[in-house]
């Protein structure tokens, strides 16, 4: 029901691209999800639910998103047969092989970008939120832009 109301009051979120969303709607706040270093230097983000998002999104959904992102980054940095093979092959070809093929990490980053786009379209944009891909912030934070809630209806 709430989703329908949101779709009614936020038609521009559905028909316009997220880029337009960034430019048209005024930004109420920005929330930053910091890195979690308890497992070392690998890229992981804290799953602690930020207070500013309490009124906007489900805690579970947020945690699911962050956990999925963490698992994707773990996949990118995983040490295993595949990464060793890639490393050795690259060394033998004096790293010229990367002129024609992408590294495993880059492939996973593309997957992450698609996942974030998908999440934004399905879950975050309808709630007036926007996830920014961490790679655009140097893998320091997951930035969530909170747009002003223009809904004048009976509320959420």
């Amino acid at each position: 029901m709430i989703h329908i109301l949101h779709r009614f009051f936020f038609p521009f979120l559905q028909t316009h691209s997220l880029q337009d969303l960034r430019q048209q709607a005024p930004v109420a706040a920005k929330v930053f999800v910091q890195r979690d270093y308890t497992s070392g230097t690998i890229c992981q983000f804290q799953t602690k639910f930020p207070a500013a998002l309490e009124t906007r999104i489900d805690k579970q959904q947020f945690e699911d998103t962050i956990r999925k992102l963490n698992s994707l980054y773990a996949e990118a940095e995983k040490l295993g047969g595949r990464s060793y093979l890639e490393g050795c092959l690259a060394c033998l070809t004096a790293y010229t092989i990367f002129l024609c093929m992408e590294t495993h990490y880059e492939k996973v980053l593309k997957k992450i970008a698609n996942y974030i786009q998908d999440q934004n379209d399905k879950i975050y944009a309808p709630r007036g939120l926007l996830l920014i891909d961490p790679i655009e912030r140097g893998l320091r934070v997951v930035e969530i832009t909170v747009f002003e809630d223009r809904s004048t209806g009976p509320g959420r």
Binding site: Y37, Y84, A94, L139
Partner: protein
């Protein structure tokens, strides 16, 4: 002079960020991110090549390797190929090409620079910590965050330091290189021979470079001696030397460089096996001397895993995206003059960091006012901070030099001034922060405002070091 247009044109870019006013004035050429990069790096080939600031010693390295190898191929190889085997010049050529490839790769790639925080992030970090009650909720907004944060990694407590230049809490194993003015991930050291920092992304190239260079040096040394000996058997020692004078030069160069290069390779092999950086080893962070339960939390279970991880692990991408185009709505670091204009933020972000806003605003004004001057006249970086400039030049990239470079590159907790109330902050960054507020008052800072601020920060550092 338009570096953005031509491909592969060697153009040095000034470290002063170009002002966004240019794009506002209607210039259609979109700027690439390397052109406004805030660190002290040099970019070539339209952002494809990235090096540290002082490249003189790098050219010396290139000359030494190329000349010595060239002399070997020209004077010794014909004789050796004829009398021993043609495999010798072939192996020599392979080694030489591998060494050059690894050297260029180590020198030209991004070592793992961490991009600086956007103004929003920096503001959020400072206010968040203030709200948590760590700083006293005082008059008018947030203060700067405390210097360190502690985190437990694999059972060891690690301190994350706040970098005042980059406005981030440095990830574990990262360090700020004062020569390049960047935070670098898994910072090993700044190598003047390679002309770049050695960090997460180029450590394997650096290691393969010194390893293959040791092989090459030993190879050339051994075969030049063989050549002289074989010739002496035929014609006598003195005439052998006369026939092949270049061999003497090669032997001398190889002999003197062999010890340091082989030693360095051995040292780095040890570091890789124990999964430490030069930085950590010098500080003795994980040595058992510090305490009974002290161990390296980053080390894997075995030496082989450590080696594989360092050399064959996944290659992380560059975080600075130097060839990307600057988007008009992207938050830029150190360019925004007034954080309040862009966003309607109910949080008290605007009054916070007034000092920083003032500083950035002043910088922006200086840059804008002096932009025409900058373009007509390349910024000469010759008046580089004398203290830091002298430390790497002429000092071998060996274990002996690491303390000196390390002292310049990172803060050491054992410095005497740490105990003072003034320096609960990183001393060199404290110097930066102290000097910036004076910038508005010093009208003499013209076109090289940012460079002279850096120089002043170093002078400040020197003053602090005399305390």
């Amino acid at each position: 002079m338009d570096p953005g247009m031509t491909e592969c044109q060697y153009s040095q870019i000034s470290t002063v960020a170009s002002s966004p006013m240019e794009s506002q004035l209607g210039k259609k050429i979109p700027k690439r991110k390397w052109q406004t990069f805030p660190g002290r790096n040099k970019f070539y080939c339209n952002g494809r090549i990235m090096m540290g600031r002082q490249t003189g010693v790098f050219y010396l390295t290139l000359v030494l390797i190329v000349v010595t190898s060239g002399l070997f191929f020209a004077f010794d190889c014909p004789f050796l190929a004829y009398s021993l085997s043609p495999a010798i010049p072939a192996i020599g050529a392979f080694l030489f090409l591998f060494v050059m490839g690894m050297l260029l790769r180590a020198s030209f790639s991004d070592p793992g620079v961490l991009p600086r925080a956007t103004p929003d992030e920096a503001a959020h970090l400072e206010c968040q910590i203030a709200d948590d009650g760590i700083n006293s909720p005082g008059s008018g907004g947030c203060r700067s965050p405390p210097r360190t944060q502690e985190v437990v990694i694999n059972g060891q407590t690690v301190k994350l330091k706040y970098c005042f230049t980059c406005k981030i809490f440095r990830p574990p194993r990262a360090s700020h290189c004062s020569l390049c003015d960047n935070c670098v991930e898994r910072f090993d050291h700044h190598c003047p021979w390679v002309g770049n920092c050695v960090g997460k992304r180029n450590y394997r190239y650096f290691y393969l470079f010194i390893l293959s260079l040791s092989f090459l040096t030993i190879f050339i040394f051994a075969f030049v001696i063989t050549h002289i000996v074989l010739r002496s058997n035929q014609t006598g020692f003195l005439s052998a030397l006369k026939d092949s004078p270049a061999s003497v030069l090669e032997v001398v160069v190889c002999f003197f460089s062999m010890w340091s290069i082989v030693g360095l390779s051995g040292f780095h092999t040890y570091l890789i096996g124990s999964n430490q950086t030069t930085n950590e080893d010098i500080k003795g962070l994980w040595s058992s001397k510090r305490g009974k339960g002290n161990y390296n939390p980053y080390s894997y279970s075995s030496v082989i895993t450590n080696c594989c991880a360092a050399l064959c692990g996944p290659l992380p991408p560059s975080l600075i995206d130097r060839r990307g185009f600057i988007q008009p709505d992207t938050p830029q670091t150190a360019i925004q003059s007034n954080g309040t204009t862009a966003y309607v933020a109910p949080q008290p972000q605007a009054p916070m960091c007034d000092q920083d806003q003032c500083i950035q605003g002043t910088k922006f004004v200086f840059q804008a006012a002096t932009t025409p001057l900058l373009h007509s006249d390349p910024i000469s970086l010759g008046s580089v901070p004398p203290l830091l400039g002298k430390i790497p030049l002429g000092v071998a990239c060996s274990t002996l030099s690491y303390p000196a470079q390390h002292a310049a590159a990172a803060s050491m907790p054992s410095r005497p001034w740490e105990g003072q109330a003034l320096a609960h902050r990183d001393p060199e960054h404290e110097a930066n922060r102290q000097l910036y507020p004076q910038a508005p008052g010093l009208g003499a800072y013209g076109p090289s405002s940012q460079d002279s601020l850096h120089q002043d920060s170093v002078r400040g550092l020197v003053k602090l070091s005399s305390v």
